[in-house]
């Protein structure tokens, strides 16, 4: 009974995603399973949509944009989030719950509201329709993940270690680099991965803020669906699913390594 229920939930969650994968190998330009596919006829399958995206310059540009914006936003979010978490962990920090709430608010604010806010704010700074503007917006959305993961790792961190480092003569920077950072690295890295994933599949802020030069993969898919309906979208989606699985695997591996170190 339990098993059946579990299976039903899993199907409900995963089926819409998994159905994309075989369809992306469709030999025909349809979004449905052809008779040949259902018969598992080898001729009904092909890599033509994968070939088409690799050849299409628009997709390549989108990939480059996604990577440039994602990596930069991740870097900014990781630095800011780690610093914020370190500050929040200090015993001298007043009003900790309030500050923590403010810091993670971008996570609970509806994206459409954040995106509208970004649009008006960055427009007035002249940063709308620039890479920099999008990087900053995505960094703001990704920072809460870093704050949360780093705060979680710091909870198990012995303050006496930083005191020991100071008593041995180390300044704050050396203490951070040689003592704190190596020990909280798993938290920093998994926070960074979450921040990257956030940027990599974010579409609302891009719709508001991005111009033609800031088209990222999700943005390209958006117009792909509206303009030229072709299973090429499904090939991209399959690629994104594989990428997400890889990220999840890395996060899990980091988590295990982190808990082993204790």
């Amino acid at each position: 009974m339990h098993v059946a229920f579990c299976a039903a939930v899993l199907v409900f969650l995963i089926a819409p995603i998994l159905v994309v994968v075989p369809l992306s190998f469709n030999a025909e330009p349809y979004f449905t399973f052809t008779e040949g596919m259902l018969r598992l006829d080898a001729d009904a399958y092909s890599l033509r949509w994968y070939a088409s995206i690799v050849e299409d310059e628009a997709w390549l540009r989108a990939l480059v944009n996604s990577l440039v914006i994602g990596v930069s936003a991740t870097a900014v979010a990781t630095v800011l989030g780690t610093l914020a978490a370190l500050g929040l962990a200090s015993p001298a920090m007043p009003g900790r719950p309030l500050v923590m709430g403010l810091l993670i608010s971008p996570m609970v604010t509806p994206v459409i509201i954040s995106a509208a806010g970004f649009f008006f704010f960055y427009s007035s700074l002249g940063l709308a329709q620039t890479h920099l503007g999008l990087i900053l917006a995505h960094a703001a959305l990704g920072t809460p993940f870093v704050v949360i993961t780093v705060t979680a790792t710091l909870a198990g961190f012995d303050v006496n270690l930083t005191r020991a480092a100071a008593s041995l003569g180390a300044g704050p920077w050396r203490t951070f680099r040689r003592v704190q950072l190596p020990l909280i690295a798993p938290g920093v890295l998994s926070g960074a991965l979450f921040a990257f994933a956030t940027s990599f599949d974010e579409v609302v802020a891009v719709l508001f803020m991005g111009g033609i030069d800031q088209r990222t993969i999700p943005r390209q898919m958006w117009s792909g669906i509206r303009e030229q309906i072709s299973p090429a979208i499904l090939a991209v989606a399959t690629f994104l699913i594989a990428f997400a699985l890889l990220l999840m695997g890395v996060v899990e591996w980091l988590r295990r390594r982190g808990s082993q170190a204790d």
């Binding site: 020991a164 480092a165 100071a166 008593s167 003569g169």
Partner: protein
């Protein structure tokens, strides 16, 4: 307290409050000589760690001055104080090897690699852990981690080392072994050590002098034997070794001695600090300084008391007797009288000399 010959560490009128209300350290005066092994001894929560933290620079005194080598150090950040520190939980860097842990303070000081390696080897030899450079702290036993922590606190040759209950987590045998090790190392290097413990025996074994803490105050600072023989406060009298305490009022004073009324008896005692007739004092008599008086007149103070219990402990007998309103008056008799010489229900004549009975000012509550 006195502007000593070379007071190396000095606390002068130091107060500390964390919340602005309760003072966890109150009016602390303490001076430590160069090369001395001084122990802060006191019950849990009495402010010992707070004192170390103020000296190391991790907490600031609310009032008062702390001096190191004659200079006030309030403006000196912890990393510039050049004080070695051994933490209760060792605080070894878990991701670095033993060698890297020890090299850490040397790198900070820009020492070149060859010299640093040699220093690390010397420090490990000192704590008898040669060849452990490549191990991680997690791969060492508690006692070995303890030794590494000590080596790391010494490797950069600080003149002052602070140790906060460093042996707290070790089993008894290892503790005793490490007590001698730490003492040996301190003597070899001539380094000044301020050591914190709540174990009075540990304090007695290791220290040149012991400062007894009680509720944020120092009750007495003295060499271990002086603390034992000449306690100045009832708290010290009972915290270091055992003591029988009797409360009474002074009825007469004659030089260093006084007569104290206790029930229908009068007890002659050594007066520790100036008091006047009528003042209440607490008399402290150690169980082993009380004897069985065969003949009346053996001791200055003699009483015939009912025995409530006798405990045979091999080398001595512990006799519990009722003395006035005190039903737990303890007498410790060396086992030369033989098992069965004193039995519960007996009435025995016990006594002690006037010098073995100290009249102390009561602890204020």
């Amino acid at each position: 307290m006195n502007a000593g010959i070379s007071a190396y560490v000095e606390f002068e009128g130091v107060h500390k409050s964390y919340d602005g209300e309760t003072e966890v350290v109150r009016d602390l005066h303490l001076s430590v000589q160069e090369g001395e092994f001084l122990t802060l001894l006191g019950p849990s929560g009495s402010g010992k760690t707070t004192c170390l933290m103020m000296l190391a620079g991790f907490e600031a005194p609310t009032r008062g001055a702390i001096r190191l080598g004659g200079r006030t150090i309030h403006d000196v950040p912890p990393r510039q104080r050049n004080i070695g520190m051994v933490f209760q939980n060792y605080a070894l860097f878990p991701h670095l090897t033993v060698g890297e842990n020890l090299k850490f303070p040397l790198e900070v000081r820009g020492m070149d690699k060859g010299d640093a390696d040699e220093r690390v080897r010397d420090a490990l030899r000192l704590v008898r852990l040669e060849g452990f450079e490549g191990r991680r702290p997690g791969e060492l036993s508690g006692g070995q981690q303890q030794r590494v922590a000590i080596a790391r606190a010494l490797v950069f040759e600080p003149r002052l080392v602070l140790m906060d209950e460093p042996l707290g987590a070790l089993d008894r045998r290892l503790r005793e072994e490490m007590q001698f090790e730490i003492r040996r190392i301190q003597r070899t290097l001539g380094v000044t050590v301020i050591y914190v413990t709540h174990d009075q025996q540990e304090a007695m074994v290791m220290s040149d002098r012991v400062a007894v803490f009680n509720r944020g105050r120092i009750e007495q600072v003295a060499a271990p034997e002086v603390l034992y023989e000449e306690p100045e406060r009832p708290f010290v009298a009972t915290f270091i070794g055992d003591n029988n305490l009797l409360r009474g009022a002074i009825v007469d004073i004659d030089g260093d001695f006084c007569q104290v009324a206790f029930g229908e008896h009068t007890i002659t005692a050594f007066l520790v600090s100036a008091r006047s007739v009528g003042d209440t004092v607490v008399l402290a008599v150690r169980p082993e300084r009380i004897g069985l008086a065969g003949e009346p007149g053996t001791y200055r103070n003699e009483f015939v008391v009912p025995v409530s219990d006798v405990i045979f402990l091999g080398d001595h007998l512990l006799v519990r007797a009722t003395m006035g309103e005190r039903v737990d008056f303890v007498v410790k008799i060396p086992n030369i009288v033989g098992h069965g010489a004193v039995l519960p229900g007996d009435r025995v004549r016990i006594g002690w000399t006037a010098t073995d009975c100290r009249a102390l000012v009561p602890d204020e509550d």
